[in-house]
């Protein structure tokens, strides 16, 4: 094990880290918004809306992310005149935006299922109790449904965030030089796969570790009702 080489590797890979984080953050945020929209369509859209949501989830969860990325990056290039006319060609020309779009569409499918599960975990009795107290509409959503649903969905959502962090590595296949892209190039140049793997893996593990810690703090903060009660005064 060559420590000097590993330090050099670390310095080579580090410039890719902001791009990895940016890809992950952008697509997680946009995917979250899209997931809320899909959930909304499924709930209020009747049978058609539900069918649409189910179809969306089936397509994006059932096929590999890499194929979806290729379909958007290479496939849509075929419709260049049309895209130019609509004025969105600037997006589809850039590998960065294609990666973001693919990651967003993909994570929206998984996230909408997580949100649906969270909403379904709110029991009928709790909603009934709230209605009996005179709450309805937005107030019911804000005070009862959302807090319970968010608390319920948090662990699964945390998993999805970590999966997305790992999924950003696929962007390197469409020429984006984030951490994995730089690592792949370095391996091909130096042929020292093991050392580079250890350094790149350590970078990813460090981010994952930080994210899980943050999620634990959020979880603690969202579940005051589950914490141990102070001993009663006697």
């Amino acid at each position: 094990m060559d420590l000097a080489f590993m330090w050099e590797t670390f310095l080579t890979l580090l410039p890719g880290l902001p791009l990895t984080l940016e890809l992950a953050a952008t697509s997680i945020l946009a995917g979250g918004i899209l997931a809320v929209i899909i959930c909304f369509i499924a709930v209020v859209g009747g049978p058609v809306g539900r069918g649409f949501a189910q179809g969306y989830v089936f397509v994006f969860r059932g096929s590999p992310l890499l194929v979806q990325m290729f379909l958007i990056y290479y496939g849509l290039g075929q419709f260049r005149p049309f895209l130019q006319e609509v004025g969105v060609w600037a997006f589809f020309r850039e590998p960065y935006w294609c990666a973001v779009i693919a990651l967003t569409l993909n994570t929206a499918a998984y996230t909408s299922e997580i949100f649906r599960g969270g909403l379904q975990a709110v029991s009928v009795q709790q909603v009934e109790a709230a209605r009996a107290c005179g709450m309805s509409g937005p107030l019911l959503l804000q005070r009862i449904v959302l807090p319970i649903a968010i608390r319920q969905a948090l662990p699964a959502y945390g998993n999805e965030i970590i999966l997305m962090l790992k999924a950003t590595a696929l962007a390197s296949v469409i020429t984006i030089m984030e951490v994995t892209g730089l690592a792949g190039k370095l391996i091909a140049d130096s042929f020292r796969a093991f050392e580079v793997f250890i350094v790149a893996g350590a970078i990813y593990l460090a981010i994952t570790f930080l994210v899980t810690r943050l999620l634990m703090i959020v979880e603690f903060w969202l579940s005051p009702h589950l914490r141990m009660k102070p001993p009663a005064l006697t």
């Binding site: 096929s63 194929v67 290479y74 696929l170 793997f197 990813y204």
Partner: protein
């Protein structure tokens, strides 16, 4: 209509169609996924044994394995096996006096990478399943005098498999989708074949769309299979829900 006809000649089985090649590539996707999944099952059960062992070192090693392999992008693991394997083969070749480049076979790379990654997921599935085997069943097996191996073969393995089927189904879907990444090593599976076809016909949209549809068919069929397997293994048990 012309559009549809053009598409059908493109992916059809005619003189200029890519249909047969795409189907063969889909078979390759299935092949490498099955090999990787089975490798993962074997390695995963070894890791489960380590996780449940009474020695702290083994437990610690197994936890480290699952943490690392589940926290690192799969693409990196594939690079490790592809380039690392080639370097290792080159070293072996050097021992026998051959000083050229020896490429790691792509199918072997795929099987190993998929196996090593899915082992991390499968070991968690097995561990969860083992936890839900009632301790009374294990005690009963010991009480009738079963030695460890018969106890594993007759009691533990069937029960763990029964509880593990839903989780194994999820892992299988993961492996299937991950197999698309093996295309970077040059193995001609579904994605790579679509790339080749897209490159030589300049019709990427049609071919990647076809690839998506073929992947969807495979994942749909396998989720049906796992569902049937689940109901079959659960006959004879009572469930509250």
């Amino acid at each position: 209509m012309e559009l549809i006809n053009g598409y059908l000649t493109l992916v059809g089985f005619g003189e200029t169609g890519w249909g047969a090649l795409l189907l063969a590539a889909a078979a390759m996707t299935l092949g490498v996924s099955v090999c990787g999944f089975l490798t993962g099952t074997i390695l995963g059960s070894v890791i489960t044994f380590m996780q449940l062992s009474r020695y702290m070192l083994l437990r610690w090693l197994a936890d480290g394995y699952t943490t690392v392999l589940r926290g690192v992008p799969d693409l990196l693991v594939i690079y490790l096996f592809y380039f690392g394997g080639s370097a290792f083969l080159g070293y072996l070749g050097g021992l026998f006096g051959y000083h050229g480049f020896i490429g790691m076979p792509a199918f072997l790379t795929g099987t190993l990478a998929l196996g090593v990654v899915s082992a991390a997921y499968q070991s968690e599935v097995f561990r969860g399943a083992f936890k839900s085997v009632a301790s009374g069943e294990l005690e009963a097996a010991s009480a009738v005098g079963m030695r460890p191996w018969p106890k594993f073969r007759r009691i533990i393995a069937p029960l763990v498999l029964r509880y593990a089927i839903p989780g194994l189904g999820n892992t299988w879907q993961l492996v299937l989708k991950e197999s698309a990444l093996i295309s970077v090593t040059g193995l001609v599976e579904l994605l790579r074949q679509s790339q080749i076809a897209a490159g030589s016909t300049r019709r990427p949209f049609e071919f990647y769309l076809t690839a998506v549809v073929l992947y969807l068919i495979i994942t749909w069929a396998s989720s049906m299979t796992f569902h049937r397997l689940e109901t079959r293994t659960l006959r004879g048990t009572r469930r509250a829900l």
